[in-house]
């Protein structure tokens, strides 16, 4: 890991020095253990703050949209597989041009899910930790525990099919061999009845407090005005009424259908632990089965929901 970080810093310094980029979006150490924070580096000197490890869960493609970032000029961006796919999706959707970004691919072994970690230590405060191969030793007041990294990995990472950025200009570390066994997360939702599925989602969504952290963390939620913020017309109520909240999540899912890259940033950002992943995964499958499209792989692709084909299946239409 140390090794990758050193290489990463050197790569970034070089890019800045040679004026290949004006600003680099990356990660630095957060203020709490197991947290990283996005950083924006315009000066070579600051490149030593860069880190890259399993705490780097934010999807950095989010920042490509910000005008403060865009106005800097050419942007370098550190990209795990999912960040890379989100960047590709931005290019597909004409939000940024390929030549406006320098994509710095990194070797990613997955990021952790803080919620899983908290559960493992009984929600006690963690003061420090150290990594020994595949083990993580966490320490807090009156406890010390050794955890396996695999057990606290984010679900989206366990299921990840594209650990390497599909497009990059430089790559730090070695690309992850795709053959590496990463198994899909299975849920039995499909085999339940309508009512049972409704009951499941009702329970899950009733945890939602409408903070919109999921939307704010999503790299593909970049509309200047989100439908939930509109007041003229006001599509749906803004209080955490179950019907309104359900509809917020339905529309959020529809708006990200065919664009979501299953990075898991939304689920990780949620303060109340709503598991949003099944919605995105279901849409990803439908879009692939129906329209043969997988988001974020090909910069030349046409977005499936802005496209059509005479042969599209219409078995559900009378």
């Amino acid at each position: 890991m140390e090794n990758i970080e050193e290489q990463l810093r050197e790569t970034v310094k070089k890019l800045l020095k040679e004026k290949k980029v004006d600003l680099v979006i990356g990660y630095s150490k957060g203020t709490l253990p197991f947290h990283s924070t996005p950083v924006f580096i315009a000066d070579e000197k600051d490149a030593d703050n860069l880190i890259f490890d399993f705490t780097c869960g934010n999807n950095l493609a989010k920042y490509l949209q910000k005008s403060k970032v865009k106005n800097h000029g050419k942007i370098g961006i550190i990209a795990k597989g999912c960040d890379g796919r989100s960047i590709v999706q931005h290019i597909v959707e004409n939000q940024i041009k390929r030549e406006e970004v320098v994509i710095i691919g990194v070797h990613c072994d997955g990021v952790i899910d803080i919620r899983k970690l908290e559960e493992k230590v009984g929600r006690k405060e963690i003061l420090k930790y150290q990594v020994e191969n595949d083990k993580i030793i966490v320490e807090g007041k009156g406890f010390k525990k050794s955890l396996s990294k695999q057990d606290i990995l984010s679900d989206s990472c366990i299921a990840c099919k594209y650990p390497n950025s599909p497009v990059y200009d430089v790559f730090v570390g070695n690309p992850v061999p795709i053959a590496e066994p990463r198994k899909p997360i299975t849920n039995n939702l499909e085999s339940l009845s309508s009512d049972e599925r409704w009951a499941y989602f009702e329970k899950e969504i009733s945890k939602c407090i409408r903070c919109y952290a999921c939307r704010n963390a999503c790299p593909l939620c970049y509309c200047e005005e989100c439908f939930v913020d509109q007041s003229n017309p006001q599509w749906f109520g803004k209080s955490p009424n179950l019907s309104d909240t359900m509809i917020f999540h339905i529309v959020r899912t529809l708006h990200t259908a065919g664009r979501c890259v299953s990075c898991g940033a939304c689920t990780r950002a949620c303060p109340t632990g709503v598991n949003l992943a099944p919605l995105g995964i279901r849409m990803e499958k439908e879009i692939k089965d129906r329209f043969g499209y997988t988001a974020g792989l090909d910069t030349e692709a046409t977005p499936p929901m802005a496209d059509w084909n005479e042969e599209d299946k219409q078995e559900f239409i009378m």
């Binding site: 939702l189 309508s194 009512d195 049972e196 599925r197 409704w198 009951a199 499941y200 989602f201 009702e202 439908f227 599509w235 749906f236 109520g237 009424n241 019907s243 309104d244 359900m246 509809i247 339905i250 529309v251 899912t253 529809l254 259908a257 065919g258 919605l279 279901r282 849409m283 439908e286 879009i287 129906r290 329209f291 499936p304 929901m305 802005a306 496209d307 059509w308 084909n309 005479e310 599209d312 299946k313 219409q314 559900f316 239409i317 009378m318």
Partner: protein
């Protein structure tokens, strides 16, 4: 939570309210033809005329379910016949995704339905309305997504 579907018998006098979005150029004209041809069909639909099925925003459908409609029908021109050439092709993709998602979160498949009805298909229009009304009747009043 488990008893979302109230058996029909409890609602002997209940008649479903169904909102039908009909595109101006085909399905609305089809409905008109059914009318002037005096073809009988259930009186359960309320019609909103839209310029094209491509005008339908998924939020329209959700808003109907939230405001207490028991069923929603969206109908447009047959593929290849859209007045705006490709409106219904785009719509078809939108509808496929909407339908899948609604069913996935647990909305009964019969609640939201889609059809292509041309201006010459008065008979088909009546058939579609009969089918949707029957399906929704079987499901009983909508409970999920209704705002209380």
């Amino acid at each position: 939570m488990t008893e979302h579907r109230t058996p029909n018998t409890e609602h002997r006098n209940w008649e479903p309210k169904i909102l039908a979005f009909l595109c101006n150029w085909c399905s609305y004209a089809g409905a008109d033809l059914a009318g002037v041809s005096r073809i009988q069909y259930p009186p359960n639909i309320r019609v909103i005329r839209v310029p094209c099925s491509g005008r339908i925003n998924s939020t329209f459908v959700l808003k109907c379910l939230q405001n207490g409609f028991d069923g929603v029908l969206v109908s447009g021109c047959h593929p290849g016949d859209c007045h705006y050439i490709t409106g219904n092709y785009y719509a078809r993709r939108k509808f496929a995704v909407l339908k899948t998602l609604l069913e996935f979160i647990g909305i009964e498949p019969g609640r939201v339905q889609f059809s292509w009805v041309s201006a010459g298909e008065g008979e088909k229009f009546a058939e579609v309305i009969k089918k949707v009304t029957e399906d929704v009747k079987k499901l009983g009043p909508a409970k999920k997504l209704v705002k209380i």
